[in-house]
Symmetry: C2
Subunit: 519 residues, 2 copies
């Protein structure tokens, strides 16, 4: 058996499915490019039949993919599988993933008995295999499926031509000994098990997804399904960064290889946190702000005689810059470019020029510009083509309400001014935008992060809005929280306007989710 | 062997040690009371010799403890152990915990050879045992210690009278098979191993702390060391809520008992997140906002025919209220009291009166008052005795800086007014406070959380300040972010002033940390 473990990333499918984590088309394409570049073997790019938006994202990602296999999800129906193929076929290395819930609770949903389900699996895998020679079959809720039936369905899927068999712990219910044992027993008892790759897909409801995935590999699985930051429904999926780093650090007892470039981890982690609006907690393994003690604690003690005393990994291994010397107002363009490169941002001259202007503006107001400040700067998503631009804003707030915002907003090239009140400065500001540019978009998320320490810290504000099922996220950073809020709101609105033009109302809403309604 | 697993909580020692998570005296006492009440067996309340503050907190917690054993940490020196005993002896059930780093890297720090270290262990455990009949000994970095030496030191500690032997995975390096194997082998090969309790203490650097702790129990450990929310240095410690819930949910394959009342989990999780300033990520197992799908995702689909299909635990099991019907401006005091009780807050009439006033004020400004709004309200830490009170605040901010704050502050009963500018509304506000009441306190942390959805959401602001080694945290919630910021800052300052009176400068700084400098 090979010692290569395939990394199957499902940030864009299972991760994107977590309530509130919806990403835009462009964000999905960007994340897919980052995954491809970091050496992920298979990217599950979406659930093509779920919505027009999902279909378009999977198609686009398939077209752009360089090395990674591009996979789409489909339920156990020909219509789903056909739609999936239409999207992934543009890839040089397409994969169709079809699944059905095999446990008693899941069999009850489409109301199929065991024989009917067995037949359905055979038909669907055969159909998929006629379209594509790379077919993955999953038995949803495998860990709660009767052993005899699980074995029977896996056997059928292999005979029908599946090339990968995925054994999901859909409810995050298993533990490592059980996880390893299940895969080991399947490989031992199912005919022709050695002709396919077994895969593990764990959820983190009891906090054991990483250990369960690695145990499955020790039991014979050679594909781990995971997401960046462990994004996913409920407590999320197995975190890519954890399994990849654990395999690297404990090669002595887990002699397996992945081809992920671990130095790309921090950058994609930050990006996924940003676009999903799911922040990573300080004490998150590998990618949390505190994951490497040297950053804040032990250094201060000055007691660390030997780095290995408290560290099993080096921060550089996950792409954390070894040095965090801040830039200042006298730093030039070359210094900025060098620093951005260390942080994982390679940019063209035009883009750099734009960032440099914002950097200078910030450095004028803030003594030291830290790495996190720079990341916030780069992440601002303004565009020349924006229909709405904030020209002026003055807000009066405090204990003598109502709070009031005076705003000048450029709409399609023409300035409009208003004055609006509200409950708090942010409410007043958003009301001003609404009165100048009427819209029905609903605020889904409003988040403020202080980027660095000190009262003159930049605040990064994320705003997610929804209108007729279309979702857009905007971000902005400023030392003035209220200005950052206004800009983030306007950013989100600009992006929503683009989406309004491109799609009919409602078509972007995934009305079909990862449940097995069957047909 | 008993099937009872002791839960040893070290939120107040190893958790509090995470860079930036420092808690105040009162917060430690409060958390200890909550731990005691929820059925934790042993509370590690601090590291008495580390600072005067730590000593006082451990003493106070020891005095107040009802059921739990109260434990203090000490390095391998008589002075440490004596100091520890002075603090824990007030408890009805005191425990002394003494440790030394046994791995090659840690032995190098005090520069002891194996024989010298063995002697030191013998002497220290004997000394501790002469003071207290409940002594825990830990071999720091046990998982990287040579087997023969580990076995030898454990044997010595038992012979010297240790009643609990803790085997820490200090760097978060092990995996479950190894973790179970180590405990199993120690129990099999060390003389009199059956006369003591073996304990596991895991760190989460590779994301496997929970699985490693449970594996250790399967290997024979009967004490798990853990923290609320997995708080702790780097990627933190084993999360109490994860091991406790996993043992409850998978009793079929892990037939062990704890006496933790799981319904208290959510409330203490929220409280620890608040006082430590370490937020819990949405997709955190058990206690994350998204941990129970029913809250946001699956409900919307309307596809969930059977709750067990996607849930292995019920939200009620961890203390999440089944219903989240919001209160409004017409809700009375009885409704408020009932709702607060569901959320875990039992309060006297006076306290309720105070919260009711704030609730009415909020309900006038906000259509619906959600559970999270209420929690924020209750958590505000104002006091009649505060030296500083915010009487009036008007802030002008926006794109035409400098931002300006007009403030009236009551200082020791007398009003003072000023006008200050700054870089952003928060900076201007903080500058106004500084100009009215001069101080050298440094802002360590400034956090904003939008409590609920909508632009009229309350913002909760946390501010942590440090002055001469003393640390204080203040919080406030308001629909106006700037007002919440000002109040939180003033709260923190008030608490710092109390501490300034009570302690000499510097004495509160833990200059000794969890490193083994020896003597």
């Amino acid at each position: 058996m090979t010692d290569h473990v395939l990394i199957f990333d499902t940030t864009l499918r299972d991760g994107e499915q977590s309530p509130g984590a919806t990403m835009t088309h462009d964000e999905k394409v960007e994340i897919a490019e980052m995954l491809d570049e970091m050496g992920v073997d298979i990217i599950e790019a979406g659930f093509p039949i779920a919505s027009e938006g999902d279909f378009n994202a999977v198609s686009e990602i398939a077209k752009r993919s360089k090395t990674a296999q591009i996979c789409g999800l489909s339920r156990a129906s020909f219509k789903d599988i056909d739609r999936c193929w239409e999207a992934v076929k543009h890839s040089q290395r397409p994969r169709i993933h079809t699944f059905i819930g095999t446990s008693p609770l899941h069999r009850a949903i489409p109301n199929l008995d065991m024989d009917e389900m067995a037949e359905r699996i055979h038909d669907c895998v055969t159909h998929a295999r006629n379209l594509c020679d790379n077919v993955q079959w999953s038995s949803m809720d495998a860990t709660r499926t009767e052993w005899d039936f699980l074995k029977r369905t896996v056997d059928i899927a292999i005979k029908a031509g599946a090339t990968t068999i995925n054994i999901p712990d859909t409810v995050g219910y298993t533990e490592p000994v059980e996880s390893a044992g299940l895969i080991r027993r399947l490989i031992a008892e199912v005919d022709s098990a050695d002709t396919v790759i077994f895969s593990t897909h764990c959820h983190n409801d009891l906090g054991m997804a990483t250990a369960n995935s690695l145990a499955a590999v020790q039991g014979g699985a050679r594909q781990i399904e995971c997401t960046i930051n462990g994004l996913g429904e409920r407590a999320g999926n197995t975190a890519l960064e954890e399994v990849v780093m654990a395999l690297k650090v404990r090669k002595d007892i887990m002699p397996f290889e992945t081809k992920v470039n671990t130095r790309k981890i921090m950058n994609i982690s930050r990006r996924v946190a940003t676009v999903s609006g799911f922040p990573v907690q300080f004490n998150k393994a590998i990618v949390g702000k505190n994951a490497f003690a040297h950053e804040s604690g032990i250094h201060q003690d000055g007691m660390l005689k030997n780095r290995e005393t408290f560290e099993v990994m080096r921060p550089e291994d996950v792409g954390l810059a070894g040095t965090t010397l801040p830039l200042g107002k006298h730093s030039g363009r070359a210094a900025l470019r060098a620093k951005l490169s260390v942080l994982g941002f390679e940019m063209g001259d035009n883009e750099l020029k734009d960032v440099f202007v914002r950097f200078k503006d910030l450095a004028d107001r803030k003594k030291e510009v830290f790495d996190d400040d720079l990341i916030a700067l780069v992440r601002q998503n303004n565009s020349e083509d924006d229909r709405l631009k904030l020209k002026d804003l003055t807000v009066i707030c405090g204990m003598n309400g109502p709070q009031k915002a005076d705003m000048v907003l450029e709409i399609d090239g023409k300035d409009h001014a208003t004055s609006a009140t509200g409950d708090g400065p942010v409410d007043a500001t958003f009301n001003a935008v609404k009165s100048l540019f009427a819209h029905d978009a609903r605020l889904q998320l409003y988040q403020v992060h202080a980027v660095t320490e000190g009262t003159d810290a930049q605040a990064t504000v994320s705003v997610r809005m929804e209108e007729d099922g279309r979702i857009a996220t905007g971000q902005s950073a400023d030392t003035d929280t209220v200005v950052a809020s206004a800009k983030a709101y306007i950013n989100a609105l600009n992006r929503l306007l683009v989406r309004r033009e491109k799609t009919a109302p409602g078509v972007d809403t995934p009305e079909i989710r990862y449940t097995d309604a069957g047909e």
